[in-house]
C-alpha cells in the first residue's frame, strides 16, 4: 500500500463551522512526508483557514507541481479535486483551470524548486496576469526528494547538510511577486501557525493573485547550523511587521485596538483585514515602501514576515478578459455555437 487513508471516525462533540462541517471534513489522506516536516504544519494551517472561513470543501481546486510540497494537496481537503501536475508548471495549469470555472477557489501549492527554479517563469507570469488564486510556496531552500541539493531560494553563504557553501545569490520570491504586481503578498513561517492561518484565510478571500511565501524548514536536509532555513535560524531572525485578524461578515470590529496600532483593509468581497502593527511605520498598502523595507531588512539577515502588501481594489484575469459571469465550463452548444445562419454569412463573405 503506497497511500494511507485516514480513519473516518471522530469525536461526536467536535465543533462545527457555519456550514456544519468539522475540521475532519477538511482533512485529506495521512501525510507521507517526514515526521516533523514544516510542510505538514502548512497543511494544518490550510485546513484551519478553510474551516474558519466555512468554505464548501469541494468548491476548492488544489493544484501543485512536483516535489515534497506538491504532494501535500493529497493531505488536505480530501473532498476537493486535486491536480499534482508537472514540475514547475502549477501556475499554468491553475491559470487554465481558473479560466474554465471562475467560481471555484484555486489553491496553488508549490515549493522553492518548483517556483524559483524550473517554474520561475510560470510563477512570474501567473502573478503578472493577476490570476485569482492563493499561491503558497512551501520554501525550505532545498531539494528534499532528491536528497538535499540547494534550491534557488537558498541564501548565499548558507551551508548544506554536507557542509557545502552556497555561492549563488538567492531569489526572493516575495520581492519578485511585489515587483510583478501581485495584489496580496505575505511571508510567514510554518512554525508560526497563529500568523499563517489568518494570512491564508485573507489570501483565499482576496480577488487576484495572492502570494504567500512560507519558510518551511526541511528537517531531513536543511535544519542544521549554517542553514538560514532552519527552525532555529528563522525563529531568531523572524521580523514580523504585523499580525492579522480576518473579519468576515458584517460584525463590527470588537477587538479593542489601541489607536494608531491597527490598519483595516476592506477587500473586494467585504472581508476586512485588521492588521495589528508591530512595526508602527509599516504601511501594507504601499507597494514601493514594502519593496524597500524588504531589501533593507534582508541585507541585515532578517526574515520579514506578515502581510507585506495588499491592494484592496485588486482585479483579476477574468476582469481583464471581460469574461461572462457564468463559468465557461458550463456553457453549451446553444451558448457557444454560432450556427448555420452565421456560417452561411461567413461562406458568402469568402467568395
Amino acid at each position: 500500500m503506497t497511500y494511507i487513508a485516514k480513519p473516518k471516525f471522530h469525536h461526536p462533540g467536535l465543533p462545527k463551522n457555519d456550514l456544519g462541517y468539522t475540521h475532519r471534513d477538511y482533512e485529506g489522506k495521512i501525510s507521507t512526508l517526514c515526521a516533523g516536516c514544516g510542510h505538514d504544519s502548512i497543511t494544518a494551517s490550510i485546513i484551519e483557514a478553510c474551516y474558519e472561513l466555512s468554505i464548501e470543501p469541494h468548491r476548492v481546486a488544489k493544484i501543485s507541481g512536483i516535489g515534497c510540497s506538491s504532494k501535500t494537496p493529497d493531505y488536505f481537503l480530501g473532498n476537493s479535486h486535486g491536480f499534482n501536475s508537472v514540475h514547475g508548471r502549477m501556475p499554468s495549469v491553475l491559470t487554465g483551470a481558473n479560466l474554465a470555472n471562475r467560481d471555484l477557489i484555486y489553491l496553488g501549492v508549490s515549493g522553492d524548486g518548483d517556483s524559483a527554479s524550473i517554474g520561475f517563469g510560470q510563477f512570474a507570469h501567473s502573478i503578472r496576469r493577476g490570476v485569482n488564486m492563493t499561491y503558497i510556496v512551501e520554501n525550505n531552500g532545498v531539494y528534499g526528494l532528491t536528497k538535499g541539493q540547494f534550491s534557488a531560494t537558498a541564501d548565499r553563504g548558507s551551508k548544506s547538510k554536507k557542509g557545502v557553501m552556497n555561492t549563488d545569490n538567492a531569489i526572493d520570491l516575495v520581492a519578485i511577486a511585489l515587483q510583478l504586481g501581485a495584489s496580496f503578498v505575505a511571508r510567514s513561517f510554518s512554525g508560526d501557525k497563529n500568523q499563517l492561518v489568518p494570512l491564508i484565510a485573507a489570501a483565499i478571500r482576496h480577488k487576484g493573485a495572492s502570494f504567500i511565501d512560507v519558510i518551511s524548514p526541511c528537517i531531513a536536509f536543511n535544519n542544521h547550523a549554517g542553514s538560514t532555513k532552519s527552525f532555529d535560524y528563522v525563529r531568531e531572525h523572524n521580523d514580523a511587521v504585523n499580525r492579522l485578524d480576518v473579519l468576515t461578515g458584517r460584525d463590527p470590529i470588537t477587538v479593542d485596538y489601541a489607536p494608531g496600532t491597527v490598519q483595516v483593509v476592506e477587500q473586494h468581497d467585504g472581508t476586512r483585514l485588521a492588521l495589528r502593527k508591530i512595526d508602527a511605520d509599516y504601511d501594507a498598502n504601499d507597494r514601493l515602501a514594502a519593496m524597500t523595507f524588504l531589501q533593507k531588512h534582508a541585507a541585515k539577515g532578517q526574515v520579514v514576515t506578515g502581510l507585506l502588501y495588499v491592494d484592496p481594489d485588486s482585479e483579476d484575469l477574468h476582469t481583464h478578459l471581460d469574461t461572462v459571469e457564468t463559468p465557461l465550463n458550463t456553457l453549451e452548444a446553444k451558448d457557444l455555437c454560432p450556427g448555420t445562419s452565421a456560417l452561411e454569412k461567413i461562406n458568402a463573405s469568402l467568395r
Binding site: 497511500y3 469541494h58 479535486h81 486535486g82 483551470a97 479560466l99 474554465a100 507570469h125 456560417l343
Partner: protein, 616 residues
C-alpha cells in the same frame, strides 16, 4: 523577338509575383487572385515568404486552373518581377515562351533578359511618380497600377476588379476611388502602349461554383469556435500564429453575450509553449474545451505535458501547423515532418490521435470534431495542418454545420449520477470495456467523485500506487482505449483506378490536390493506381487491407524520413518492402509533376525486362 513561340493558354497558367517583403504587395496580389475567381475560374495561390519583416524577397504565385488543380504546379508562365534583388533567378525561372513583366522606368541592359521569353516593360515608377507625391502612396498604388496593367494584358474584366475593390473599401469612399483610379492608370497605359492581350488569357467560366476561398488556419480557428472551444492559450510561432489571431477575431464577432457584451471565451498569450499547453490542460481538466496552436519547436517544448495528457487522461487539442524542421529549420516553408514526433510524443509508452485535414474545409470539420474526440477519448488530439494549407488561401467547398449537432462531452459523471444507488466511481475504472473511464469535473459533489489527478502511477480509484500489476493494468487499458479510438476518428477515403491494378498509393493532408492531379498525369503515361487518403491515426483496419490488396503501395509524403510509412510499418506490422516511399522535402509544396515523375519512373522501371536490361 523571342526564338520560342509565346506560350498561349486560356485559364491555365502560372503567374508569379516577385516582391520585396513589407512593400504592401500582398493585398494587390491577393486582389489579382480573387479577381480571377470572380471570372468563375479557379485559382490556387501560394505565399512564398522569408522569415523576415521587411526587405527580403517574397513571392506570390497564382496558379490559374480552369480544371481545378489546386496543388502547386511548378514552373512560371508569367513573372511579375518587382524585386531587383532576385531578378536573375526570377528571369531564369520563366518557362521558355513565357512572359516577363517588369518596371521599365530605368532602362535595363539586354544581357539582363532572355531571348526565349517575351518581355513586357511598363514604366511603373514613372507613372506612379507623375501621379502621386506621398512616398507611402507611391509604394502602395504602384502595386495597384501593375494590377491594372495585368488586367489589360490578361484580358481580365476590369469591372470585376472594381467590384472587389468596392467590397474591400466599402464605406471608405476616398480609398475606393483612388484605388480604382490607380487600376485604370495601369490598364489604360497597357492598352495604349502594349499589344493586349498576350497569349495568356482569363476567360469567364463557371468552374468556381459555390466554393469559398479561405486560409486553413482561419478555417481551423472557426472550427474551434463551432466546436465549442472556450479557452485558447498560445505562443506566437510561424506558421501557426494566425490560428490564434483568427480565433480571436472570430470570437469577437461571434462569441460575445448580446446583452452584457461579455466574452464567452478566454484567450491568453502564454509566456511560452509550456505555459500554453499547461493552460489548455488545466482548463480541460476543469471541464472547458481548450486548445493551443503551435508548430514543430512548440511541439518539442510541450511534450512533457502531452505525456501527462495521455497518462492522466486529460482531454486537449493541439493544432500543429507544420513547417520544415528539424530545430528552427525553415520556419516559413512547408513540410509534413512532425508525424512521428506527434504520434509518439513524450517519454514512456505513449500514443496520440492525429487528424490529417486535406484543405480548409476539412480543417474546419476536423477542428470542431477534435473537441468531441478529446472529450470522448479523454486524451490529446493533434490537428495536423501545415503551412501550405494553413497560410494560403485555398478554394474549397463551403463550410457546413448541422444545427441539431450537440457537443459530445464524453463520460462525465454528474452529481445526480454520483448519488445513484450502487454507483461506484473510480476515475480509472473501465466500466464499459472500451478503455474509457468516467471523470468528474472539480466542484461537482460535496462528498463524492473527487479524485487526485497525477502523472504518477495510480490504481483504478486514482490512488497512488507503484505496484507493478496495478501499473500494467492501467497501461493495458490505455491500449484498449487507443483501439477504441480507431473507429471514432475520420476513416480513410479510397478511390479505385479506372482499370484494375496491382498498385496503390497512400497520401494525406496537403498532398491531396497534387496527388489528385498526378493520378491524371500517371494515367496519361499508362499507369493505373488505386489511392487511399489517410485522414487519421490510429489507422483504421482498412489501411492494412488496402496494402494487402496490392503488390505494393507508394506512400507519398512531405518529409525526408518517410514518417507516415514508418508509422504504418510499425503500427500494422507491414513488411516495409511493400511500401515505396515517395518523398518531397525541400520546403516547397509538393507538385503533381513531382509525384507523377517519381511514381511514373518507378513504374516504368518495373516494366523494363531483364533481357533489355542485359542488352543495354
Amino acid at each position: 523577338m523571342p526564338d520560342q513561340s509565346p506560350i498561349s493558354s486560356v485559364n491555365d497558367f502560372v503567374v508569379r509575383f516577385a516582391n520585396v517583403n513589407g512593400s504592401g504587395s500582398a493585398s494587390a496580389n491577393e486582389l489579382f487572385a480573387r479577381s480571377i475567381l470572380r471570372h468563375g475560374v479557379p485559382v490556387s495561390p501560394r505565399n512564398i515568404f522569408p522569415s523576415n519583416i521587411q526587405g527580403l524577397p517574397t513571392w506570390y504565385e497564382v496558379r490559374v486552373t480552369e480544371d481545378g488543380h489546386l496543388g502547386a504546379r511548378g514552373g512560371v508562365d508569367m513573372m511579375v518581377a518587382m524585386n531587383p534583388q532576385t531578378w536573375d533567378k526570377d528571369v531564369a525561372s520563366i518557362e521558355p515562351g513565357g512572359y516577363l513583366f517588369y518596371d521599365s522606368t530605368k532602362p535595363m541592359p539586354t544581357s539582363k533578359f532572355r531571348a526565349d521569353i517575351n518581355v513586357i516593360g511598363v514604366p511603373l515608377t514613372a507613372i506612379t511618380n507623375s501621379t502621386y507625391t506621398d512616398p507611402r502612396q507611391r509604394q502602395l498604388f504602384k502595386n495597384i497600377i501593375y494590377l491594372g496593367a495585368l488586367c489589360a494584358l490578361l484580358d481580365m474584366d476590369p469591372k470585376l476588379v472594381e467590384q472587389l475593390i468596392g467590397e474591400q473599401y466599402k464605406g471608405k469612399e476616398k480609398l475606393l476611388s483612388s484605388n480604382v483610379h490607380a487600376l485604370h492608370l495601369g490598364r489604360d497605359w497597357a492598352l495604349q502602349n502594349l499589344k493586349c492581350p498576350v497569349g495568356l488569357r482569363v476567360k469567364k467560366s463557371d468552374k468556381v461554383g459555390e466554393r469559398i476561398f479561405i486560409e486553413g488556419n482561419s478555417a481551423a480557428a472557426l472550427g474551434a469556435v463551432y466546436g465549442g472551444a472556450t479557452v485558447c492559450a498560445w505562443y506566437p510561432i510561424t506558421p501557426s500564429s494566425s490560428v490564434a489571431e483568427a480565433f480571436t477575431s472570430h470570437c469577437k464577432k461571434l462569441r460575445h453575450d448580446p446583452e452584457t457584451g461579455k466574452a464567452k471565451y478566454a484567450i491568453v498569450q502564454g509566456e511560452d509553449e509550456l505555459a500554453s499547453i499547461g493552460i489548455v490542460i488545466g482548463a480541460s481538466w476543469n471541464g472547458a474545451r481548450a486548445f493551443t496552436a503551435t508548430s514543430g519547436p512548440g511541439i518539442s517544448l510541450m511534450t512533457e505535458f502531452i505525456g501527462l495528457s495521455y497518462f492522466a487522461e486529460i482531454p486537449a487539442v493541439i493544432m500543429n501547423i507544420q513547417r520544415a524542421g528539424p530545430s528552427t529549420g525553415m520556419p516559413t516553408r512547408t513540410q509534413q515532418c512532425d508525424i512521428i514526433a506527434c504520434a509518439y510524443a513524450s517519454h514512456g509508452d505513449t500514443k496520440h490521435v492525429l487528424l490529417f485535414p486535406e484543405d480548409p474545409a476539412e480543417a474546419f470539420e476536423f477542428a470542431a470534431q477534435s473537441f468531441d474526440l478529446a472529450d470522448r477519448l479523454q486524451t490529446m488530439i493533434f490537428l495536423m495542418l501545415d503551412l501550405d494549407i494553413g497560410m494560403n488561401h485555398r478554394l474549397c467547398r463551403p463550410l457546413k454545420w448541422d444545427d441539431a449537432r450537440q457537443y459530445d462531452r464524453g463520460k462525465v459523471m454528474t452529481a445526480e449520477m454520483l448519488d445513484e444507488p450502487g454507483r461506484d466511481f473510480g476515475r480509472y475504472l473501465d466500466v464499459d470495456g472500451d478503455g474509457i473511464p468516467y471523470r468528474t469535473y472539480p466542484g461537482t459533489h460535496p462528498t463524492k467523485g473527487s479524485f487526485f489527478t497525477r502523472g504518477t502511477s495510480r490504481d483504478r480509484y486514482a490512488r497512488y500506487s507503484e505496484e507493478g500489476a496495478v501499473y500494467a493494468d492501467n497501461m493495458q487499458r490505455l491500449v484498449r482505449k487507443f483501439e477504441t479510438a480507431q473507429d471514432m476518428v475520420p476513416r480513410p477515403l479510397q478511390a479505385n483506378a479506372a482499370k484494375p491494378t496491382k498498385y496503390g498509393v497512400i497520401y494525406f493532408g496537403s498532398t491531396a490536390p497534387a496527388m489528385d492531379e498526378a493520378i491524371g498525369l500517371l494515367e496519361a503515361r499508362g499507369h493505373q493506381l488505386d489511392r487511399m487518403r489517410i485522414r487519421a491515426f490510429p489507422f483504421h483496419s482498412s489501411v492494412a487491407s488496402f496494402i494487402a490488396d496490392h503488390d505494393f503501395v507508394y506512400v507519398v509524403e512531405q518529409n525526408r524520413d518517410a514518417q507516415l510509412r514508418q508509422l504504418i510499418v510499425n503500427e500494422n506490422g507491414i513488411d516495409p518492402v511493400r511500401l515505396v516511399p515517395i518523398l518531397h522535402y525541400d520546403g516547397t509544396p509538393i507538385t503533381a509533376r513531382f509525384i507523377a515523375n517519381a511514381i511514373g519512373d518507378h513504374q516504368d522501371h518495373l516494366k523494363v525486362t531483364p533481357l533489355r536490361k542485359a542488352v543495354s
